[in-house]
């Protein structure tokens, strides 16, 4: 038999075997569920949940459905994952660059941080941060800075109350951001053409912060503040960030940050030393050399493994259940227990994490394509 046709037949057989295996699993599961008298399906998502959730990005109470509870949990996962990705990236790049510092003390301190955090199990680090935060003053002895209160139940701060007319401010903010982008483009084109620089940073700050601020004053201050006040048990009003969120965020970002710092270090070391020397010969200061010469080339080596770290961080956020941060898995576990729909709940976990991972990968691949070396 000829080479190619044999390969095709083998592949077909393999596909068939995989398909049969999954068909068997599905049929067998169905038969077993029926034998055990268990109901299958996703109808339970429309049942009333009857339990409460302490952190909600959308409105929710115990009269809502399991489905809505899942969405609340999914959003909490997305929240802590995005906060973690941002912080881990900043920590990772700083640590990666500092570890290459010629200053012995700085590079050693960073080495200790990296080796410590990446060699201690993440779960222990999460619990470590949580216990540290629980050791903060009790709610009655809160540390108060202005209208901000810090205690072992979190950080409570004034919450903005949007009154009528505040939509103007939002429009102002959007205009400011768009204008800044346009100015940045123009400034770049001008610098390419004439070599003159333009203070984009200050202009942008003025547009993004200044414009809404001016509008705020003109329109008669349409945003009020909801100030925290001490109630009988807790501070009431304002906005609270729970210690569980902070502990999870700190643990995830320092842990993943240490891995990212190694990736950054490797990326920088992969750039030929001649590049630094050439930049130096041209008279570029070292900060500018790093930003304009080294990092752009290092990014090509950094971005692909960085993507894996972002995916890891997102998935690791499910360890939240240990300290009671109500993420997808924590809320899903409660739903699983109340409804008994184990297979369905776990399938929802899988689909959610898979979607989040694919979204992250897609974005990072797009970014990687943009910064990839353009052969001239």
């Amino acid at each position: 038999m000829g080479g190619p046709s044999r390969g095709v037949i083998l592949q077909l057989l393999l596909v068939l075997a995989v398909a049969l295996f999954f068909a068997f699993v599905v049929a067998n599961t169905k038969a077993n569920l029926e034998r055990a008298g268990l109901s299958a399906g996703y109808g339970f998502l429309w049942d009333t949940s009857a339990f409460d959730i302490n952190q909600r990005l959308i409105s929710y109470d115990s009269t809502n459905t399991y489905g809505r509870a899942f969405i609340v949990g999914g959003l909490n996962t997305v929240l802590v994952a995005s906060m973690g990705v941002i912080a881990a990236t900043i920590i990772g790049f700083l640590a990666g660059i500092l570890r290459l510092s010629p200053n012995f003390l700085i590079s050693r301190i960073v080495t200790v941080y990296v080796e410590f955090t990446r060699n201690v199990p993440l779960l222990l680090q999460i619990i470590f941060w949580w216990v540290i935060l629980l050791a903060l003053p009790r709610v009655r002895d809160s540390i108060q800075v202005g209208a901000f209160y810090l205690n072992n139940r979190g950080v409570r701060m004034p919450a903005p109350v949007f009154e009528q007319g505040s939509v103007v401010l939002l429009i102002g903010l959007v205009v400011g951001v768009v204008a800044t982008i346009l100015v940045a483009r123009w400034a770049r084109a001008r610098q390419d053409a004439t070599g003159h620089k333009f203070p984009v940073g200050w202009t942008g700050l003025g547009l993004v912060v200044g414009l809404p601020l001016v509008l705020f004053l003109i329109t008669g201050r349409p945003i009020g503040l909801d100030l925290p006040e001490m109630g009988r048990f807790n501070l009431q009003g304002g906005f609270n960030i729970t210690p569980e969120l902070v502990a999870l965020w700190l643990a995830l970002s320092t842990y993943t940050g240490s891995f990212i710092s190694e990736i950054v270090r490797g990326g920088i070391l992969s750039v030929n030393k001649g590049q630094t020397e050439a930049a130096g010969a041209l008279g570029l200061p070292s900060g500018l050399t790093l930003r304009k010469v080294i990092l752009p080339q290092a990014m090509r080596a950094i971005v692909p493994p960085l993507t894996s770290q972002y995916l890891n961080l997102t998935k690791n956020s499910s360890l939240a259940v240990a300290i009671g941060y109500q993420d997808l898995v924590s809320i899903g576990d409660t739903i699983l227990n109340q409804s008994g729909q184990a297979l369905e709940v776990i399938s929802i976990y899988m689909v959610t994490y898979l979607s989040l991972s694919l979204l992250t990968s897609t974005f990072m691949n797009w970014y990687n394509g943009r910064i990839a070396l353009v052969e001239r």
Binding site: L38, F51, N54, V321, L343
Partner: protein, 341 residues
């Protein structure tokens, strides 16, 4: 590790998915041919299921497991204990990982019907309560508007809590934590103002505090929590056995049959119900598919209901629980087993 419970759940879901479809023999035959009873118990709750100095499992729920093993296999030690959390307990039973679950589990309609389980009775009538610091100056759970409340996840307590605060039109911050130990630690660190769980659990928890007198259990009991053992739905013979072992322990208290005198009474007495239970009259063991002296073994394992209660959770233990609702009907409680005839 606690946090991998959902992973365990996944494994058990997989077990449901992969379990063979071969015709299932009765649980009784399975247990007898294996020579060991697989009993699901708590991960550790003072008085109900805990390991003693020798590392063996013991406690109020464990005693029931031992009585079942003694009745079915003639040996109270022929048990494989499977430690389960609030979340893993039902999948474990559904998937056949265990034969009987004795893990202070509340009997509810949805668990009985929708989860494919069968409750065989009630071994402890409980209710959900709150514990708080005396320093708060709160005397009643109805004064808890605005409080932070620590709860253990995956239990009926989460639902009762939501209902209680909603019906009383009060606000609260739930702080849900996976295990009893960690929820307790959060309460001790003052992460929350009060801790809520079943009253028996509160007594068990309070007993382990450094300064138990600084805490107060509020008088409100906000729910009915009939705790009992359960088995898989669909094997009536096995459910009957599990039910009548529990009934035998209660009837033994009623008739004054104890661990000490059961062997002597088994020889025959002039009390017909004792004779029927212990096998010297009638063929009640045969009806259940067991040996005629099954109840003798069951009672000999840890004694009758009162002996088990007093040994593990009664007034003289660290938990110091009164019989209360769990006294026999003739002593003012609601413990009432159907007649042995």
């Amino acid at each position: 590790m606690r946090t991998t419970n959902w992973a365990k759940g996944a494994v058990m879901a997989l077990a449901i998915a992969m379990a063979g479809v071969s015709a299932h023999a009765g649980t009784l035959e399975d247990v007898q041919s294996a020579g060991v009873l697989k009993c699901g118990i708590n991960t550790g709750l003072a008085g109900f299921a805990y390991t003693d100095d020798m590392g063996t499992w013991t406690g109020f729920d464990v005693a029931y497991c031992r009585a079942v093993a003694a009745a079915v296999l003639g040996d109270p030690d022929a048990i494989e204990f499977v430690v389960l959390t609030g979340k893993t307990r039902f999948p474990a039973l559904q998937a056949g990982e265990i034969d009987v679950l004795a893990r202070n589990t509340t009997w509810t309609l949805s668990r009985d019907v929708d989860l494919g389980l069968t409750f065989v009775g009630v071994n402890y009538y409980d209710g959900q309560g709150f514990i708080g610091r005396k320093a708060l100056g709160v005397m009643s759970a109805t004064e808890l508007d605005g409080a932070s409340v620590c709860i253990q996840t995956g239990t009926t307590t989460e639902l009762n809590l939501a209902d209680f605060f909603r019906t009383n039109n009060m606000e609260y911050e739930p702080v849900p934590i996976e295990t009893n130990a960690e929820a307790r630690a959060a309460y001790e660190a003052d992460r929350c103002d009060v801790y809520t769980t079943d009253a028996s659990g509160l007594a068990a928890t309070k007993a382990t505090f450094d300064d138990p007198d600084a805490h107060i259990v509020y008088p409100e009991v906000i729910s009915k929590e009939p705790l009992g053992p359960l088995v898989r739905h669909g094997d009536d013979q096995w459910a009957d056995i599990a039910r009548w072992v529990l009934n035998a322990l209660i009837i033994a208290e009623e008739l004054g049959v104890t661990q000490g005198n059961v062997e002597r009474l088994a020889g025959g007495t002039d009390h017909p119900e004792i004779n029927r239970m212990l096998g010297s009259e009638g063929s009640y063991g045969e009806m259940l598919g067991l040996a005629s002296d099954w109840a003798v073994h069951a009672i000999k394992a840890e004694g009758n209901y009162a002996e088990i209660f007093d040994r593990y959770i009664g007034p003289d233990t660290r938990l110091g629980l009164q019989r209360g609702l769990n006294a026999l009907y003739k002593d003012g409680g609601i413990l009432y087993a159907p007649p042995f005839r």
